[in-house]
């Protein structure tokens, strides 16, 4: 099995001493990059001329919900990973809030087994911090690590008790795994659903104040200092939250954070009196000022990763009253087009930084093997056409769900091919059936 990608602009800031940005050919054999250079003279079974396209180390989404087991009517590992490769990702890290939750080794092994059977891309399981995500008893982290869990998170719920969070971080530290925190103080947030401010008042919806997130980020940074355990702040949404992370990094603490495309590109003003439930997410959309601060922090290195928090739901669930509909928007298929359109083409984010925040750093934070555009690296590759137009319609999605907050948008740039260990999972923008 051998593959040759010709005339492609290869971008990888982590390749070699100084990084790579050049038009090259890439030769792949047995799932590994063999050679990179101009005009390679090799015979390959599969040749793709990628003139005008960009190739980067395969993108990884470190925060998704694949809903399996338990909620297969929303999404499955199969449909969710189809969506992932359609969006340009070579791997995803599904959260533990399935039914049953991924809370012990057996559940992790079950997930990996199912992924081996049906997934279109790599699946990096995230285990629960606490049993049943209840925030009261430690989950069997050692068993989960042995089974293949890459990190721990009770995503969907904040761990309310500071003592419990301390035990989680103390214990996770022993395995060298990062604790990924959903920052939400239930006392402040209650049943809040939209950002506290003019929109919550106008729409008569219960307010979810920014401080409900910020006090937990501050607490967990303190616990990071206390325990030494690596902390990853999930879906950060506010300017002040970013300030807290910036200060923690300056102090030298092992703190990282991620931002979602919807918190970068949408704000509370998008939640209107039409009560479109696709704009109901947790944490909620914040202010325009926050969006700007998030984009700045992504560019300056304070925010380490773009993660989608892909949250598929069935049609009938999102067709309910705003207050009753579940939280979340899908994101796997729109993330890259949004970032290309909204940040890269505008010059806000360089191509190098895009590769860092969507490929290099997510792998680094999760502690999975790096992928790089250099000989010897695993051939997980994402090919991007920066000029291809994308009309975001329900039909265009490969996900089983279409609850996207970006429906109707016209975007420019998307993944057209994805290679996973050298095998094509996406070609010409179409998912390759296995």
């Amino acid at each position: 099995m051998s593959l040759l990608l010709k005339n492609v602009r290869a971008i990888d800031p982590a390749a070699g001493e100084t990084g790579l940005d050049a038009i090259v050919d890439i030769h792949v054999r047995h799932g590994e990059v063999i050679e990179i250079g101009p005009d390679l003279d090799v015979d390959a079974g599969e040749v793709h001329d990628l003139t005008g396209k960009v190739v980067v180390p395969g993108l990884v989404d470190m925060h998704v919900h694949l809903r399996e087991p338990g909620y297969e009517y929303k999404e499955t590992i199969e449909s969710g990973t189809r969506a992932a490769v359609h969006g340009g990702f070579t791997g995803v890290a599904p959260m533990a809030n399935t039914n049953p939750a991924i809370e012990d080794g057996t559940k992790v092994r079950g997930l990996i087994e199912k992924a081996d059977e049906s997934a279109f891309c790599h699946v990096y399981p995230v285990g629960a911090c606490t049993k049943r995500l209840m925030g009261t008893e430690l989950a069997e982290m050692g068993d989960m690590v042995a089974a293949g869990a890459v990190a721990f998170s009770d995503d969907g719920k904040g761990i309310q008790d500071a003592g419990m969070m301390r035990r989680v971080m103390d214990y996770a530290k022993m395995f060298g795994k990062v604790v990924m925190a959903h920052e939400q103080d239930d006392g402040l947030v209650g049943c809040g659903i939209v950002n506290e401010g003019p929109v919550s008042t106008k729409l008569g919806l219960v307010a979810w104040p920014a401080e409900g997130e910020e006090v937990m980020i501050a607490r967990d940074i303190a616990l990071c200092r206390l325990t030494g355990c690596a902390l990853h702040v999930q879906h950060i949404t506010t300017a002040r939250g970013v300030e807290l992370v910036r200060a923690a990094k300056k102090e030298g603490l092992p703190v990282t954070c991620e931002v979602t495309p919807h918190h970068l590109f949408l704000c509370e003003d998008d939640v209107t009196s039409s009560y479109d439930t696709n704009f109901k997410m947790n944490p909620p959309l914040r202010t325009k000022t926050d969006c700007i601060a998030l984009a700045d922090a992504l560019a300056d290195g304070t925010i380490d990763a773009i993660a989608t928090d892909h949250a598929p739901h069935a049609k009938h669930e999102k067709a309910r009253e705003f207050e009753l509909a579940p939280f979340g928007t899908t994101g796997l298929e729109t993330a890259l087009p949004l970032v290309l359109t909204g940040l890269v083409s505008t010059g806000k984010l360089s191509w190098e930084r895009l590769v860092e925040v969507m490929s290099i750093l997510p792998r680094q934070i999760l502690g999975i093997d790096p992928v790089s555009l250099q000989p010897g690296s695993m051939a997980d590759l994402t090919v991007i056409d920066p000029d291809r137009h994308v009309s975001v319609t329900a039909d265009w999605f490969e996900s089983a769900a279409d609850n996207s907050a970006f429906l109707g948008q016209e975007l420019i740039g998307c993944a057209t091919a994805v290679f996973i260990e050298g095998y094509a999972a996406l070609l010409d923008g179409e998912v390759v059936d296995q």
């Binding site: 209650g190 506290e196 401010g197 003019p198 919550s200 008042t201 106008k202 729409l203 008569g204 919806l205 307010a207 009196s273 039409s274 009560y275 009938h316 067709a319 309910r320 009253e321 705003f322 207050e323 009753l324």
Partner: protein, 316 residues
């Protein structure tokens, strides 16, 4: 005719619509004093009152209004409808649509629900109160009651009127409709509540807000008291009803602080001894029962105008 198909909020109405509703309601006010309080206007039309949250006065007010116009009125409540069996609101809407209803009055716990009905059926949708969001017919009847008691025609008389809305502003759907409507009509509105019962940003309604009642009480032409909603006081925003009554309740003493010509209003039902003492409830300066009467007139007008009646009401 109104310029809108549905009445989801007072924002749907132009000022011409508002005046038309108030004028039409005035014609119906006289009908309601007759021995035979019935007009044939909406004969053969079906009005459903879909009340998915307990309500007595709004539901009966709409039903009486519909019946006085000879509409066939069918009441559905939360406990008798399919919604408790797990049917979604979308399916309830489609079911009612298949029954060919002409208008649906909906009361529901969730903000924005009337829109789900409007998007899934042909009938005219009238918002009878959605969550903590809006309650347009309450706002219209309040404005009607003000106009009748201040004795003016047209809308000019609202200009410069100083209205204070006092109480549980944070949980009130009445304020969300009444305050912006009064502001559009040229009134000045101040909301008064403790910070724990104040929403995040009352300025979105075009009003100012204060926490302390006594300094502003003597400036109001209308003192509009909101009900303390006992059922929504989870999280204990008040130490006690006793303390609330001491800080915000209106009794003899605070009535003496009011302008002599100022009116007291309340959307009901009143918690006697909490927001109003019995002296205040039973005072002739209190418009509570006039508001109830206005409710029937205004709801008759809304049903009549939405279901295709013209300006020239035949009340003979």
């Amino acid at each position: 005719m109104l310029s809108t198909k549905h009445l989801i909020d007072t924002e749907d109405l132009t000022l011409e619509d508002v005046q038309l509703i108030l004028d039409t309601a005035r014609s119906f006010k006289e009908v309601n004093t007759r021995t035979i309080k019935k007009l044939p206007t909406l004969r053969g039309r079906t009005v459903v009152t879909l009340f998915l949250e307990p309500s007595t006065r709004t539901k009966s007010s709409f039903e009486i209004a519909g019946k006085r116009l000879s509409a066939d009125v069918q009441g559905l409540s939360g406990s008798s409808s399919s919604t408790v069996k797990g049917e979604s609101l979308v399916d309830t809407a489609k079911t009612l649509d298949a029954m060919r209803c002409d208008a649906v009055v909906v009361r529901c716990k969730q903000a924005g629900s009337p829109l789900i009905l409007a998007n899934n059926m042909d009938a005219h949708i009238i918002n009878g109160g959605d969550g903590k969001h809006r309650h347009p017919t309450q706002a219209l009847l309040d404005v009607f009651s003000m106009r009748e008691n201040l004795h003016f025609d047209g809308l000019e008389g609202f200009k410069g009127l100083n209205v204070g809305i006092v109480g549980d502003v944070g949980h009130s759907r009445v304020v969300g409709s009444l305050a912006p409507l009064l502001v559009r009509l040229g009134a000045t509105v101040t909301v008064v509540a403790p910070p724990t019962l104040m929403p995040a940003d009352p300025s979105v309604w075009g009003v100012s807000h204060v926490y302390d009642l006594d300094p502003v009480l003597p400036t109001f032409d209308i003192v509009y008291m909101l009900r303390i909603q006992m059922e929504r006081l989870d999280g204990a925003p008040l130490p006690s009803l006793r303390e609330y009554a001491a800080l915000y309740g209106i009794g003899k003493e605070r009535m003496a602080m009011m302008r002599p010509e100022a009116f007291l209003m309340h959307p009901g039902p009143v918690n006697r001894g909490v927001e109003l003492t019995s002296d205040a409830v039973d005072s002739p300066r209190n418009l509570i029962l006039d508001q109830v009467n206005s409710g029937v007139c205004v709801r008759m007008a809304v049903l009549y105008l939405l279901l295709g009646g013209d300006e020239n009401v035949t009340v003979a």
